[in-house]
């Protein structure tokens, strides 16, 4: 459904690239996670995929359309849930959805029903300006489903939501996948990605550093991690050590020799740890 | 009240509005206006009537007519007719056997036709009486002076607008909250904004008056009037800033506030004398009279001080009335 090849994008035009030659494919009905820290090029890529930024170099196909020549037909088939709550603050939640619904040429979902699906039925007639951040987030999320998209771009869907709402959002994403929707999920929340995605791509400094299913990635880059708990100077200390790393091996041997070790577990790495290993930095910044 | 904090507010505002090019526009705007006015004022002040002629009138007569009025020469009679039928009022002159004929569209006022006849007659014939002209040697044109007055008033309005936008920007970006948690009083905050506005007002008034070529006037008097006039302009600016939460509503407020501010001089001109008292309570009326006094009528210090005094008393009374409302709306902390 999505095919990207040798995609580059520069905001400055002076040889520094926000996106530097990436390529990937997303199949129908797949949830594809696009992961990386802030500034890695996630948003830029998503903007190019949705036609918000021009293709400077490379090839992008979405639902069989070359995005350079994207026309109505394509926009009738995609849905975009933005990270920022870009809504008409002076219109009510229902008015916002009804307005956007009227822009599509294809049969659209009932706005009232969608509001119910994201738990905003009671606030349907209130002006969006009076919504909390989380409510606005949910409204943006609901709006992206108006045209029952085949390809759904979802940007940080759970940012700033409480645990119960996060759960509901994740359920909706799964439901849509059941319907055969292709989901392009952009996030830096590794737990959400791990839980939902069939495949993920790690983006760092404009390049894809790895792309595979979360399980494969964890097995490939994260196996043989050992969690050691030992008592040093009266305090309980936890350390994650990899037998693949020379220094870690030496450290483990020293700890065992000193008989300070209290527990020892082999542990599967988290996606975050895999990323740190691949990119040499965490996702927080 | 700490001068250091006031200055740092003013400096930060200056920086952010420079970066936003707004301040640049506020500074570029008056010179452009002044230059346009400088080009237009002679055309307006020196205008009499517009004439259209065909070559049949003869070069000599056309040259003589051009001493009285703007003359356009068109190739032939059909061209003359179509020019006379044009949107603006122009009177056609053609030569015919035994004399001349006026070509009118039919909807001009009587005045234009009569004036054209007088000009034609005067450029053709002898005078009934000898007329000579003397000159008092005053070069400052009242039209220029008057435009200068309007521009000075506009400079005050612009300064007020800049202050409104700056307050609203603080609200929009939430930096007003960041300021609120710093050891800064509301008075210091407002004084900082005011200093920037006053600087812009003074700079603009000076630029405008210089560029438009306003006749000889006493800069000290203009300074005094501008300082007093700025009080009410700043008040309008703060009001708009206080009631607007974003730029959209600020524009609405600025439109209304600026309208009320600039309407006053226009009303002063349009209103018959007996109704002028309607405007007495408005400080801008007195600002206008004072500017007009200095820039058009060459008023002396006593007159300037009287008008400025009334202006200040009214402005400060308005400030006193507004303090509570503005204080509440522009409160830095809750």
């Amino acid at each position: 459904m999505i095919a990207v090849d040798e995609l580059y994008h520069s905001y400055t035009g002076n040889g520094t690239y926000a996106v530097a030659g990436i390529g990937f494919e997303v199949g129908k009905g797949e949830i594809f996670g696009f992961l990386g820290p802030n500034g890695a090029g996630k948003s830029t890529t998503q903007k190019i995929l949705t036609g918000l930024l021009p293709v400077q170099r490379g090839r992008v196909e979405v639902a069989g359309h070359d995005i350079r020549r994207a026309r109505r037909e394509l926009f009738n088939r995609i849905g975009v849930s933005f990270e920022s709550p870009n809504l008409y603050r002076k219109l009510s939640g229902l008015e916002n959805l009804a307005f956007y619904a009227s822009l599509y040429d294809v049969p659209t979902a009932d706005p009232g029903e969608l509001l119910g699906r994201v738990g905003l039925a009671d606030a349907a007639h209130r002006r969006v300006g009076a919504y909390s951040k989380g409510m606005q987030q949910r409204l943006v999320f609901a709006r992206s489903l108006l045209n029952r998209p085949d390809i759904w771009f979802v940007d940080e869907p759970t940012a700033g939501l409480d645990p119960a709402t996060t759960q509901r959002v994740k359920e909706i994403i799964r439901e849509e996948r059941e319907r055969g929707v292709t989901v392009f999920l952009t996030t830096h929340n590794m737990l959400v990605a791990d839980e939902l995605c069939d495949r993920v791509a790690f983006l760092n400094e404009g390049r894809i550093v790895a792309a595979d299913s979360p399980r494969e990635l964890k097995l490939r880059y994260g196996k043989n991690v050992i969690l050691v708990e030992h008592r040093t100077e009266g305090r309980l200390v936890r350390e994650v050590l990899s037998p693949l790393v020379e220094a870690d091996r030496a450290r483990l041997q020293r700890l065992l020799a000193d008989e300070r070790v209290e527990t020892l577990h082999s542990q599967e790495a988290t996606l975050e740890e895999v990323f740190i290993k691949l990119a040499g930095r965490g996702l927080g910044g | 009240m700490s001068a250091r904090r006031v200055w740092s507010i003013a400096g930060r505002d200056l920086k952010s509005s420079l970066r936003d090019v707004i301040a640049a526009w506020v500074l570029v705007f008056p010179p452009i206006l002044a230059l346009i006015a400088r080009l237009l004022v002679p055309a307006v002040g020196g205008a009499t009537v517009k004439l259209v002629a065909t070559p049949g009138l003869g070069d000599a007569l056309v040259d003589r007519l051009a001493e009285y009025a703007a003359v356009e020469v068109v190739p032939d009679r059909p061209a003359l007719d179509s020019r006379v039928l044009g949107l603006d009022a122009a009177v056609g002159l053609v030569a015919e056997e035994g004399g001349y004929r006026l070509v009118l569209e039919g909807n001009e006022g009587e005045e234009a036709a009569a004036l054209a006849a007088i000009i034609l007659a005067d450029s053709l014939g002898e005078r009934a009486i000898s007329i000579r002209s003397v000159d008092r040697g005053r070069t400052g044109s009242p039209v220029t002076g008057f435009v200068a007055v309007l521009f000075a008033m506009m400079s005050l309005v612009l300064a007020g607008s800049l202050m409104s936008l700056s307050v609203v920007e603080d609200k929009e970006t939430g930096s007003i909250h960041a300021i609120a948690v710093a050891p800064l009083s509301r008075r210091e905050y407002l004084a900082g904004k005011g200093i920037l506005g006053l600087g812009v007002a003074l700079l603009n008034v000076s630029l405008m008056l210089y560029l438009i070529g306003a006749g000889p006037f006493d800069p000290a008097k203009v300074l005094v009037i501008t300082l007093a006039g700025f009080v009410s302009a700043a008040l309008v600016g703060f009001y708009v800033g206080a009631i607007s939460d974003n730029q959209v509503s600020a524009i609405a407020g600025m439109k209304t506030g600026n309208l009320l501010f600039l309407l006053v001089p226009l009303l002063t001109l349009a209103l018959p004398d007996r109704l002028e008292s309607v405007l007495y309570p408005l400080p801008t009326y007195w600002t206008f009279l004072a500017y007009r006094g200095v820039l058009v009528e060459g008023a002396g210090w006593p007159e300037v001080l009287r008008l400025t005094g009334i202006n200040l008393v009214l402005s400060l009374a308005l400030v006193a009335v507004s303090v509570r409302f503005l204080g509440r709306r522009l409160s830095l902390r809750g």
Binding site: F75, Y100 | E105, T139, P272
Partner: protein, 348 residues
């Protein structure tokens, strides 16, 4: 396309109402109407500002000025009174010299008057003296290209109505369309619009239409409250609507050059002032500024005058309408192009 157009136009109108812009439009129209109806006089009085000192025995010119001259003329009798009366910078002195009858006239100018103004004043004075002495006034045969139908000068206060309708109604979109666009940029709703099938064409058309409707409301109010309900609506409303389309388009293109509303405000205000310049020739027909004829406001102000105060040249209206339509037709594709480019390049 049509459904999207209406949805967009209705959304614009809703936003205009909820942001209180309609309230302001109505309030301003009412304010202006009150001023025109009750404060601004029908006859502003012509300010000739002549100071006349007739030294002749018969004082014929003084009598003539005292009775027949339009506007205020100051009659004085002494040298000092003459000098004092000429102190204000806009006065001109007329000293009539002679025995019983006038033999010569000395005009005292301030110094700033243009040579044309001086010559015309001399000519006028000469004509008056000639009329007084010999009873003859300059007369030439006249051809009137149109039957002098209507053509009565409207009262001064009502002559302001076309100007107010131009500025407040037809040019309403100049600022407001920009305001709406920046509100959308700010809320980033434009970005959400760009990932729907909605295009630039219907977006711009809808904005123009919404501003046009608002312009009609404003023009209607101003007209009813000043001139009254019985007027040439068929002439006024189309011209206002078409003018509004053109100015809205101008605003939308202009707005794309700026980052935020604060930046947009002053340049657009400057442009509005520049576009209002043809009003100078509307009030001062003698002013010759051919460059101003190129502005779209030039045909518009005369069309409005013709609609409100017909002089028997209805083609002024149809020609203005055609001109505005042509301007719109040329400007629209240009606007669509720049708009698309700006949106994509700047990723709004």
């Amino acid at each position: 396309m049509r459904r999207r157009f209406w949805a967009l136009a209705v959304r614009d109108l809703k936003l205009v109402v909820r942001n209180h812009h309609l309230t302001i439009v109505v309030a301003v129209a009412v304010l202006y109407s009150l001023l025109v109806r009750f404060l601004i006089p029908a006859d502003p009085g012509v300010t000739l500002n002549l100071v006349v000192w007739d030294q002749t025995g018969a004082r014929a010119l003084a009598h003539w000025y005292g009775e027949a001259a339009p506007g205020p003329v100051l009659l004085v009798d002494t040298e000092t009174a003459y000098a004092e009366a000429l102190e204000p910078g806009n006065r001109i002195g007329v000293k009539v010299i002679g025995g019983h009858l006038p033999e010569a006239v000395e005009l005292t100018f301030q110094g700033h008057e243009s040579s044309r103004v001086r010559r015309v004043l001399e000519a006028t004075l000469n004509a008056q003296v000639a009329a007084m002495l010999r009873g003859e006034y300059p007369r030439f045969p006249v051809t009137s290209l149109r039957p002098p139908g209507g053509g009565e000068q409207p009262p001064f206060n009502l002559s302001l109505v076309p100007v107010l309708v131009l500025f407040e109604a037809a040019m309403l979109g100049m600022l407001l369309a920009g305001v709406l666009l920046f509100a959308e940029k700010d809320e980033q709703t434009l970005r959400a619009y760009r990932v729907t099938p909605g295009g630039t064409v219907e977006y711009l058309l809808a904005r123009c239409a919404a501003m046009g409707m608002l312009a009609l409301v404003s023009a209607g109010l101003l007209t009813v409250l000043t001139i009254g309900p019985a007027t040439n609506w068929a002439g006024i409303l189309p011209v206002v609507f078409l003018g509004s389309l053109v100015f809205t388009l101008v605003a939308m293109v202009l707005a794309n050059l700026f980052k935020n509303l604060g930046q947009f405000y002053l340049p657009s205000f400057l442009l509005m002032l520049a576009l209002m310049l043809p009003v100078i020739t509307y009030f001062q027909p003698g002013v010759s500024l051919p460059l101003l004829h190129l502005l779209p406001t030039h045909p518009l102000i005369y069309a409005l005058r013709e609609a409100y105060f017909p002089t028997g040249s209805p083609q002024v209206l149809s020609r203005a309408a055609l001109q505005l339509l042509a301007t719109f037709a040329v400007a629209f594709p240009l606007a669509v192009w720049t708009f698309r480019r700006q949106l994509v390049v700047k990723d709004v």
